[in-house]
């Protein structure tokens, strides 16, 4: 049997019951108006603090959700505007109408819920506000720029994102001013843009965007999925340019636009622009 000895006498127990019953019955037999007033006064002491805290929490959650949706709309508008401007610039420099102006699709707002740092993987766990039919390699951006791509889908609301600061990450990029193409890679504590010839026109402050062009390298597995990133997502700005005499290519250092160290709303871009653009990594 489960039992503990009582610390109170039978008289004490009965006295407690009688006091509580008398108080309860007194409240019950109060005149209606008085009862309402008493309940109101008691509520200020007993329940009001709880409801204030709870309502405050709900307000914060609702504001966060509204803020996320507003950010989504703002980012979509900014991306659409940038795509229009890019199309104009492409036309001026005779790049031709066949060039993808960039950004087609829907931005799904997600919250960063976990951050994992390691030697071989730097990942974010994100959670969508609504179910998403997402798949690996979808690009993930923030309002400031490109962040990384979906690496592993957990369920229709959660996924792991590989950040572009992860080792072995590679991304096809384009200098927006000139249309020069290069490959962005993380190197220790900085980002470099490779494969741009030493005589090309690159200036400090040039904006760098995703190129939407595949970086195809040797791979043992031809069926390995191809990362698809549309053209036009802002990546960062050039901060250093040099042309060492012994090298064929420029050394270009880039300052990324997106922040990787604090949580914010991020967007998964889905669906992609019809497979017109892509990049592959081994």
């Amino acid at each position: 049997m489960l039992e503990k000895p009582s610390r109170f006498s039978l008289g004490g127990e009965i006295l407690t019951l009688v006091v509580c019953v008398v108080l309860s019955v007194t409240l019950l037999v109060l005149p209606h108006d008085t009862r309402i007033v008493v309940a109101d006064r008691l509520g200020i002491v007993l329940t009001s603090p709880y409801w204030k805290v709870r309502n405050f929490g709900e307000d914060i959650t609702r504001t966060q959700t509204e803020n996320t949706l507003l950010k989504q709309q703002l980012t979509e508008l900014e991306m659409t505007l940038a795509a229009g401007e890019r199309m104009g610039r492409d036309a001026i420099r005779m790049a031709g109408p066949a060039l993808d102006p960039g950004y087609e699709g829907e931005m799904v707002p997600c919250r960063v819920v976990m951050r994992q740092r390691g030697r071989f993987a730097t990942m974010l766990k994100i959670r969508s506000l609504s179910p998403v039919d997402w798949e690996p390699w979808l690009p993930v951006i923030s309002s400031k720029g490109y962040l990384g791509r979906v690496r592993a889908v957990i369920n229709d609301r959660e996924a792991w994102v590989e950040l572009m600061i992860a080792p072995e990450f590679a991304l096809g990029v384009e200098l927006e001013r000139t249309g020069l193409l290069g490959i962005l890679r993380p190197r220790a504590d900085r980002f470099v843009v490779e494969m741009i010839g030493r005589d090309e026109d690159v200036r400090v402050g040039d904006a760098v965007i995703t190129s939407g062009i595949a970086e195809v390298r040797d791979s043992d597995d031809p069926d390995k999925p191809v990362a698809l990133t549309p053209r036009g997502f802002p990546v960062g700005r050039v901060t250093e340019v040099s042309s060492p005499s012994e090298q064929l290519f420029k050394e270009i250092i880039l300052e990324p636009g997106a922040a990787f160290d604090y949580n914010e709303t991020v967007f998964v871009v889905t669906p992609l622009g019809g497979g017109r653009s892509g990049e592959a990594r081994r």
Partner: protein, 163 residues
């Protein structure tokens, strides 16, 4: 003293968090377990009649504040329930799941019986309808959930086996 504090924290959390956050989430067609009754029984079985009577009065009073026209009725029913279960704990073999479930179901039915009887007298509302359509399903659901909660309480050391 530490046991008392731990039990107090657990039953308060169980009663308020359970009723306001968990119960709406696991409700089936509007029928949700009555966590305040489960909490009260847990307290009565572990601490006895006096704490359970006082806790029942306070919990009932808080519930009454959401329905001021019946101010005092929940308090009356719940302090009676706390006293009843607390007084009987020495005669109950409440370690078994079946017994735990039965205690909780009977407690819910007794509580609702008193509540609906007084309410029907005060407000001229029906008694049998709500008792069979609301109280019975709630009692069954509360009994099922309560068995799990009491088992957890045993694992947590709130309810302890004694020789």
């Amino acid at each position: 003293m530490r046991d008392f504090l731990r039990t107090t924290v657990i039953w308060v959390l169980l009663a308020f968090v359970g009723d306001t956050l968990i119960a709406p989430g696991i409700a089936i067609k509007g029928i949700a377990p009555d966590f305040s009754v489960i909490a009260l029984i847990l307290l009565a079985l572990s601490q006895g009649a006096v704490p359970a009577t006082l806790a029942g009065f306070v919990v009932g009073l808080v519930q009454d504040l959401s329905n001021p026209t019946l101010l005092g009725l929940h308090a009356l029913c719940k302090c009676g329930l706390g006293f009843g279960v607390g007084s009987l704990r020495g005669r109950l073999v409440y370690g078994l799941a079946v017994v735990n479930g039965a205690i909780i179901m009977v407690a819910v039915l007794a509580h609702d019986l008193l509540f609906l009887l007084v309410k029907s007298r005060l407000t001229d509302e029906g008694f049998l309808g709500p008792f069979f359509t609301q109280s019975l399903p709630v009692a069954v659901y509360t009994g099922l959930v309560g068995v799990a909660v009491l088992r957890l309480a045993e694992y947590a050391g709130v309810l302890r086996q004694e020789d």
